[in-house]
Symmetry: C2
Subunit: 194 residues, 2 copies
DNA sequence: GCGAGACGTTGATTTTTATCAACGTTTTTT
DNA sequence: AAAAAACGTTGATAAAAATCAACGTCTCGC
């Protein structure tokens, strides 16, 4: 279970991982299995754990007054599921996170993560890189949201995360793009004709 | 010039700043004045400097094939202007950053920033906090973009960053919201009637 | 002081997208 | 195996927002 985490850290950081570091990692990250549709986090809860996804898929979303879900993030293998705001400030979350597939995850608390980062230099790099990647991706997503049409946004998603389109049903993709499932269906119909 | 930076770091970090740290800060951050409309970064350039804004206002935006500007960020005092993707990976930027007002800024390169962070513990916290805040704000902006109408997005902006509305003209605000200036004008007209 | 450009408004029209409703297919549950 | 739920599609219609065009005001540089 921990192997894929270790491999992933190695791939993201130049600093090697000592074998005592690996032992420490294994002690700190708690393996946990989630069933499809199981919540990892519900609105109003404080996000105590961060989850590294070893296998499976999750979604992070808000629910508005009308009861409609708005998907903020789709998460698959090697991604990190949490609500950093809630976790760091220890305030109730605005988001739901649940599993779209049966999922194997590795959990840590904020504190154990801090301790780990202090002790293992490679993790510092890893953390920085994740934060960096997130920053870049957000900026792009915001730019797409304010400057592209529904159709263009869909084609951008096809280019950027083709695996999402394979893995999640269309109404989930539509929500992620901020459009209705009907509009997405029409966009795809158009695209298929060409 | 450096005072506002020092004060800001203090306000964001629990660790105190030693006086030798302050000397180091002053040596590392290069003060520079920019005129209104002056570019800080142009598309295609590598972003060599990050700029801490002491006084003034900037905007970060893309320009599409039609020549239209799409504003990704508005930046004022105590904010940090750069393109992290370009700066860290040393690749050409997709963004323009220019000054909307005459601006006093403090510049650092990536390397001098890394060195500083290594030497001054308070900066580490500061960096983490900025990155955190950015993360939270992005998530909210994405959520607003995919779930709210133009009108609701405008009212959210009024709540979240009222200073932007004072400081930037309407067509800039409209671009930031991803709507046309005409639509924003009508939204404001509606709101005024109530 | 005057002309150019920036800014904002308003109206008419078109385009884009959402909404509502119905229906077929597939998957899951019982 | 049947029923229910989830998923996707299509059509008609409505709402939201963009586009196009014209115009008024203000500011700034010369």
């Amino acid at each position: 279970m921990h192997e894929s985490l270790i491999q992933y850290i190695r791939s993201q950081s130049a600093t090697p991982l000592a074998s005592k570091d690996i032992d420490l990692l294994k002690k700190t990250f708690i393996p946990k299995k989630f069933r499809k549709r199981q919540y990892f986090l519900q609105e109003g809860e404080v996000c105590v754990y961060g989850a590294f996804i070893v296998k499976g898929a999750m979604r992070k979303y808000t629910v508005d007054e009308k009861g409609e879900e708005h998907i903020v993030e789709l998460l698959i293998e090697n991604w990190w599921a949490n609500d950093r705001e809630s976790q760091i400030k220890e305030v109730p979350s605005r988001y739901f996170i649940d599993c779209w597939e049966d999922t194997d995850a590795l959990l840590t608390t904020k504190q154990s993560m801090y301790d780990l980062i202090d002790r293992i230099p490679a993790l510092k790099e890893w953390r920085a890189k994740i934060s960096e990647n997130y920053h870049i991706a957000s900026q792009k997503r915001i730019n797409d949201a304010i400057s592209l049409s529904a159709e263009q946004r869909y084609h951008e998603l096809e280019k950027t995360y083709p695996e999402f389109i394979q893995r999640f049903p269309q109404h989930i993709i539509a929500s992620y793009l901020g459009i209705t499932k009907e509009t997405l269906s029409r966009i795809r119909h158009q695209a298929a004709k060409k």
